[in-house]
């Protein structure tokens, strides 16, 4: 036991003290959250030069309303659908202004008019143009679809296209109500939209008072489970490399023979695995504290899943033991780094399996398929954590059964890995293939 701890301590220090470890500790979250970080940084770097848009209004009734709405937008803050943002007391333009140009309808060939405007867009004079046909105000009978044509050379940059629908439709509605002889105010009141608030459940506090339900935050409900899953995936990943490295080094440098003269192979392997669990828990503590302070700083402290930390750590430790034993076996069976990389690939796909189906599990946490998926041992640590993090959570028996199944799988993995390790670690020359490893496991 004492010797196992000696090995674990060395393993831990060897992993934590390397530059590679520190680099991957910093790089992994960047890699995982790169999209979010880049989005935040790039947000400020938008092109806010004016967007010149030409409008040919054959109805003669809509253009003024669009210009009026555009002028209003060009003055307002972003929270009122405008273009300015106030940060630290400074008001700053963050979206482009829309500058609308009137093109008077003529008797010319309409296609010729469109071609001229298209050429102006190509020359960079205009950003886009809109053609409003004369019949848009009167709705057509039946289901036939009516639309207003928006032409641009940048279809992915759709700010104007999305925005202009509102002033046009508002004005068209007004015109149609007026034509039908309805009072605008009455109609507005009669058709007022009711929004549906997304709330949690009501409960009773310690004094017996009924507490009000709070509004749920859909983003938090998706990002927190996702974050926990990614964190677990990341930690398993970071720990894997030093573990395989150290086994390979011991094998190639003939250190294994010296070690086996002092400690039985199974204890040696367990020492290494305990070392890796230590590394993983260190990472978990660092990341969880980091996440907690980041969330608190952003004012979302209530969303930090502190009640799940114990479960998370337990599942993480088991996952590290389960996958770690497979990594150790691979390290012992292969003969160099190159071989280890290709041998690790299939294992990494199994580790990453939950990443393929997590969206389904978050949306349908109580569906029978989600329950089954979260009870398949290699997926349990990540998927069960996700299901626990999404309201309403899971009945207690599920994580308990999950832990028991993972524990059994871990025991099988560790046992099999022990047999592969014992033979593989002393083998020199060519690495073993899968069939050979299986033979070692069965024969013992």
């Amino acid at each position: 036991m004492r010797k196992m701890i000696v090995v674990a301590v060395r393993e831990y220090q060897a992993a934590v003290r390397t530059k590679a470890f520190v680099i991957s500790m910093i790089a992994m979250p960047i890699l995982m959250c790169g999209v979010l970080i880049a989005q935040t940084i790039l947000e400020d770097k938008r092109d806010i030069s004016d967007r010149h848009v030409a409008i040919v209004d054959h109805t003669g009734e809509l253009f003024d309303a669009i210009v009026e709405a555009s002028n209003e937008r060009n003055e307002q803050d972003i929270k009122d659908q405008g273009i300015y943002e106030t940060k630290n007391g400074k008001r700053k333009q963050v979206m482009p202004r829309f500058v609308i140009e009137r093109i008077a309808p003529t008797a010319d060939d309409p296609e010729r008019v469109k071609l001229n405007l298209s050429n102006r867009v190509r020359d960079g004079e205009l950003f886009a143009f809109v053609i409003i046909e004369p019949d848009v105000i009167t709705p057509k009978d039946g289901d036939s679809r009516q639309s207003i044509d928006y032409h641009s050379n940048s279809p992915t940059s759709d700010d104007f296209q999305r925005w202009v629908g509102f002033p046009i439709n508002n004005r068209i509605k007004e015109l149609r109500f007026a034509k039908a002889g309805l009072d605008q105010e009455v109609v507005k009141k009669a058709t007022k939209w009711m929004s549906i608030a997304n709330l949690g459940l009501v409960s009773v506090d310690k004094e017996g008072n009924i507490t009000k339900a709070t509004e749920t935050n859909e983003l938090a409900n998706i990002f927190i489970p996702m974050g926990m899953m990614m964190l677990m995936f990341m930690i398993i990943n970071i720990g894997a490399t030093p573990l395989v490295h150290s086994v390979l080094e011991e094998k190639m440098q003939r250190i294994a023979e010296v070690l086996l003269g002092s400690i039985p192979p199974f204890q040696l392997m367990m020492g290494k695995l305990i070392g890796m669990v230590g590394v993983s828990l260190t990472l978990a503590v660092i990341y969880l504290f980091g996440a907690y302070f980041a969330i608190r700083h952003a004012g979302f402290e209530e969303y930090f899943p502190s009640h799940l930390v114990i479960w998370f750590v337990t599942f993480l430790a088991l996952a590290v033991l389960m996958f770690g034993s497979v990594f150790v076996a691979i390290g012992a069976a292969v003969s160099d780094m190159k071989e280890s990389q290709s041998a690790l690939m299939p294992v990494m796909i199994v580790v990453a399996m939950p990443l393929f189906c997590w969206i389904f599990v978050v949306r349908e946490p109580t569906a029978p398929l989600s329950v089954i998926l979260s009870l398949i041992p290699p997926a349990t640590p990540m998927l069960m954590t996700i299901r626990q993090a999404v309201p309403p959570g899971v009945p207690l028996w599920q994580p308990v059964v999950g832990i028991v199944l993972v524990l059994l799988t871990t025991i099988v993995c560790v046992f099999a890995a022990g047999r592969i390790f014992r033979v593989g670690i002393l083998m020199q020359g060519k690495g073993a293939n899968f069939a050979q490893m299986l033979r070692w496991v069965i024969r013992g």
Binding site: V6, E249, Q253, I255, V258, L260, S262
Partner: protein, 314 residues
């Protein structure tokens, strides 16, 4: 008492017989030298003594330190593998401390300090292994194998690639181990070292034991069939003299292997007829010569010849 006893052990890897029906006894307190060409089974034998390998099922028994344990882990055995065996990224002190702790030594700090001072490595305690020269790394490796004061020390090629100064240092340490009562088994390619240091010599060739005993007893079995001679004559060629079977030319000295029952006086007379004899010595064959007789090209030729003879008889 014998500290290692091997009886009829065979070890095969797939089709290849690495060690064939080997029996060997190593008395306590002895220095036992293992010699043999590369790939002849030395390391496999050492690993069987370490109990990293077990003999094939149904063959042989191995008793080390009086017991037939199945596990390799034993704090009373120290092991130095050939050349490697050190974590490159670890510092000297941390590494030795780790090995000492792993061998169950409680006063590891004192032990590490003692050995670093003793082998003049104290200034290197905080350097990483990868920065050490080969000689220093070998000394560190030696310390790691003896730091727990083992009763049995197994050294695989401890002197390979060392300069004369470091060879002397390690040789003295090995002798000091025996002084302390430890038993040392080491393998070597250096016949001079084996001749000078070992109480017993064991030679394995193609998996079979071919020599085992004290140097004197081994030499006796070959008889006094060697003449070392120096003749002051540039173009001197002893071939053609009656009874000379083989000539090994060392430049200033020549070694003649004589056929059995050759009269040395007649040989001397023949030599004197060819030049001025400055040195004439009747000797037993050196270990080097015995090694080459068993494992050299002439052994191959002899083996092929005897096979051909057997074939023609068949």
């Amino acid at each position: 008492m014998n500290i290692v006893e091997i009886e009829n052990a065979t070890k095969t890897f797939g089709e290849h017989i690495a060690v064939n029906n080997l029996s060997l006894s190593v008395p306590e307190g002895a220095i036992y030298g293992f010699i043999g060409p590369n790939g002849s089974g030395k390391t496999t034998t050492l690993r069987m003594i370490m109990r990293i390998y077990r003999p094939d099922a149904g063959t042989g028994r191995i008793r080390v330190l009086g017991e037939e344990s199945l596990t390799a882990a034993n704090d009373e055995i120290g092991y130095l593998p050939e050349e490697r065996g050190l974590y490159k990224k670890m510092k000297v002190w941390d590494l030795l401390r780790f090995y000492a702790e792993l061998k169950g030594r409680r006063d590891f700090n004192a032990a590490v300090k003692h050995w670093l001072d003793r082998l003049d490595l104290a200034d290197w305690a905080n350097r990483k292994i990868e920065t050490l020269s080969k000689g220093m790394a070998q000394k560190v490796q030696f310390i790691s194998s003896v730091i727990a004061d083992p009763r049995l020390v197994i050294l695989d090629e401890p002197f390979t690639g060392l300069d004369p100064v470091n060879t002397d240092v390690l040789r003295e340490e090995v002798l000091a181990l025996r002084q302390r009562g430890a038993t040392v088994i080491f393998s070597t390619h250096d016949m001079a070292v084996a001749e000078k240091m070992c109480d017993f010599i064991f030679m394995i060739f193609k998996g079979n034991k071919v020599l085992d005993g004290t140097l004197a007893s081994i030499q006796d079995s070959y008889g006094q069939d060697t003449i070392r001679v120096k003749v002051e004559n540039g173009g001197f060629d002893p071939r053609g003299i009656e009874g000379v079977e083989k000539v090994t030319d060392f430049g200033h000295l020549q070694e003649l292997r004589m056929a059995p029952d050759t009269d040395s006086q007649q040989t001397l007379a023949a030599l004197m007829a060819r030049g001025r004899v400055a040195h004439f010595e009747l000797a037993k064959p050196s270990l080097h010569d015995i090694f080459v007789r068993i494992a050299g090209p002439e052994a191959d030729t002899a083996a092929t010849a005897s096979q051909a003879q057997e074939a023609s008889h068949a």
